[in-house]
């Protein structure tokens, strides 16, 4: 493994809530390499989501340095960050992952559409990927007509379909039963193996932590353990 795909150097994030300052991240140092499957564990409020937001360019750091796939995020404006997210990062959230008015196919195609992939190619890829995540026959359904697990599969499919450098998943299994979680995890692991896409999963779920090769424990806004 050569250069890390994600580099965090002394990352601080301080939220100002009225009079109160909340130090959500207090000097995170972290390198993540291409093809890794990493879990971010930690108590509620420890800063997992905040860290994912920093890496994903959803929010800006208070101080420190974040680099994703060679891009220094601190130097980017809003539009630059939007482009970065569009081209390099796939997101899977805990819930509300999908756009309600679009079908599963359309949700999967959404990013490709933003990227300007031609319609035929999009169709092809979206059919293929929904097949790979095991819900080929549900492509025409709207999110409301899918179960939680199926929705998460669509979300993973969408995150994956445009070949991002990393996929950031924030508690992707939180709304799923353990069996469904298991199969979603297996799916992600499989995809991680196949395409060498880097996965960073924030979670409290022991099942997920168990599953991942590299386990990072966040505590009080810092990396407490990395193994």
């Amino acid at each position: 493994m050569d250069k890390p795909i994600v580099i965090c150097k002394d990352v601080w994030k301080i939220y100002q809530q009225g009079e109160v300052k909340v130090e959500a991240l207090r000097g995170v140092d972290l390198d993540i390499f291409q093809g890794e499957f990493v879990s971010l564990a930690g108590a509620s409020g420890s800063g997992k989501t905040t860290l994912l937001n920093m890496i994903g360019g959803l929010d800006s750091v208070s101080s420190g340095y974040v680099e994703v796939d060679g891009d220094d995020l601190s130097g980017m404006n809003k539009n630059g960050l939007a482009d970065l997210r569009l081209s390099k990062i796939g997101f899977v959230f805990q819930a509300y992952n999908l756009i309600p008015v679009l079908t599963a196919y359309e949700n999967v195609e959404f990013i490709m559409q933003l990227q300007g992939v031609p319609a035929e190619r999009r169709r092809e890829l979206s059919h293929e990927i929904l097949g790979r995540v095991g819900i080929a026959d549900m492509g025409e359904r709207k999110p409301a007509e899918l179960s939680g697990g199926q929705q998460q599969r669509v979300a993973v499919a969408r995150a994956l379909v445009s070949n991002p450098s990393i996929i950031l998943a924030d508690e992707p299994t939180a709304n799923l039963d353990s069996k469904t979680s298991e199969s979603l995890l297996e799916l992600m692991a499989e995809l991680n193996q196949e395409s060498q896409t880097t996965f960073i999963v924030a979670t409290h779920d022991p099942q997920v932590i168990e599953f991942t090769k590299r386990k990072i424990l966040i505590s009080d806004g810092k990396v407490a353990q990395d193994c």
């Binding site: 959803l58 081209s87 805990q94 819930a95 509300y96 679009l102 990013i111």
Partner: protein, 420 residues
């Protein structure tokens, strides 16, 4: 990459984003059908009422003007100075000066009639009543005033020397007289004495209640004889080829002569003029009020739609959609809503106006105010398109605020917080 390629690329990118957000906007519009439909209904009603009200008000104004002009006023009148303040036998026109006569003979003037017009008392064998006596030139009144066509019983006056009198139906009823009976007119003679003569009722007319009760018509020479004024007259009434010429014509007459009082119809009938101006103003007020109501409804609907979808907007942004596209998406949503409702409102308004093109009877009540009783609404396409454009423009303007709110205020933590 050449400049051309770059340009092409950005163009296709624009097209791409459009094909992405247009369907999204359309589908989002129907997510909360009831709310969208209610908002659209409000826009629909507002637009429809603007079109209908505009057409009816215009019809009403123009019918009222025509009515006023036909009711003895003409496009303008000439009197002796002071006559209008005190319409009295003493203030008469002895001779029309040549310069004025020249103007009255010009091609612009389509109708011209001389009248004697004084207050009088009318008496039957049973009742009496104060009236306004008009001595007219029967042939000249044709096409100028209503009277030649308003006879419902008996006949119209036949010559400038006709000996008969024409009464309104209401006055005849009041005097308990009828066709063929005799009535007595009493008025002030030019020498200051009271002059009195009998006339046979040869015709009964109908008109606006005020005129029907108050105006009686005899031939001009009968009137001149009754009052002992030779060939003097009280007024000249004229009508021009078109209403647009009135102001200029009146000005020219005034420039010629300051010994006579020359007035246009709207100066002679300030009440009618005020009424028409008020109705024009009320259209504007209605448009403003209904549009204000509608835009608040629209803003409200959009704000609701935006706030309940904050997460989704967060998602769009997380997925890499730029804020300007988000903004456009909301704008399109409201534009669709406006466009559909405005189009429907315009069409409905147009159909209603067309349905009443044959005339709408406002009832006798209207004529008490000197307003027209039957109005003929007419579409003014420039007004219709003006309403359409205005509503669309203001609608899009009104939706800018919610759209900006949606696009700017998407804290990314809406997204992550949503998970808790």
């Amino acid at each position: 990459m050449s400049a051309q390629q770059l340009n092409q690329n950005s163009q296709s990118r624009f097209g791409r984003s459009m094909s992405l957000i247009l369907p999204l906007a359309w589908r989002n519009l129907w997510r909360n059908k009831r709310r969208s439909l209610l908002t659209m209904l409000a826009i629909f009603v507002a637009v429809m009422s603007m079109v209908v009200l505009g057409a009816f008000m215009r019809a009403w104004s123009s019918a009222t003007i025509v009515e006023t002009i036909n009711n003895l006023t003409g496009h303008g009148q000439i009197h002796a100075l002071q006559y209008l303040d005190d319409p009295n036998i003493d203030y008469r026109i002895k001779a029309i000066p040549g310069s004025i006569a020249n103007h009255l003979n010009s091609a612009e003037v389509t109708h011209r009639a001389d009248r004697v017009r004084v207050p009088a008392m009318i008496r039957s064998e049973r009742e009496n009543s104060p009236v306004e006596l008009l001595g007219i030139q029967p042939a000249q009144e044709k096409g100028l005033s209503f009277i030649s066509e308003a006879i419902i019983d008996g006949r119209y006056l036949e010559s400038n020397a006709d000996k008969g009198i024409i009464l309104g139906k209401k006055l005849a009823d009041r005097l308990q007289t009828k066709l063929g009976r005799r009535v007595v007119l009493m008025s002030q003679h030019q020498d200051g004495s009271i002059s009195e003569r009998g006339y046979r009722v040869v015709g009964i007319f109908t008109s606006q209640p005020g005129i029907e009760k108050f105006n009686v018509f005899i031939s001009i020479q009968s009137a001149q004889a009754l009052l002992g004024i030779g060939s003097d007259i009280s007024e000249v009434t004229f009508k021009l080829q078109s209403r647009e010429q009135i102001a200029g014509f009146v000005q020219r007459l005034r420039n010629e002569n300051s010994e006579l009082d020359i007035q246009a119809w709207d100066e002679l009938q300030p009440f009618t003029k005020a009424m028409i101006e008020m109705s024009d103003g009320s259209i504007l007020i209605w448009i403003l009020v209904s549009f204000t109501v509608v835009s608040f409804g629209l803003i409200n609907t959009l704000l609701m739609a935006v706030f309940e979808r904050m997460r989704e907007f967060g998602l769009f942004q997380a997925l890499g959609m730029k804020t300007r596209w988000l903004l456009l998406q909301i704008l399109f949503e409201s534009t669709f809503m406006m466009a559909v409702a405005t189009a429907a409102g315009l069409i409905a308004g147009i159909l209603i106006v067309i349905a009443f093109e044959g005339g709408l009877d406002l009832g006798v009540g209207a004529s008490y105010f000197g307003a027209a009783q039957v109005v003929y609404p007419e579409l003014d396409w420039s007004e219709v398109s003006y309403i359409g454009v205005l509503v669309m423009f203001l609608g899009v303007l009104a939706s800018l605020y919610p759209a900006i709110k949606a696009a700017r205020n998407v804290p990314v933590d809406v997204l992550s917080r949503a998970t808790n």
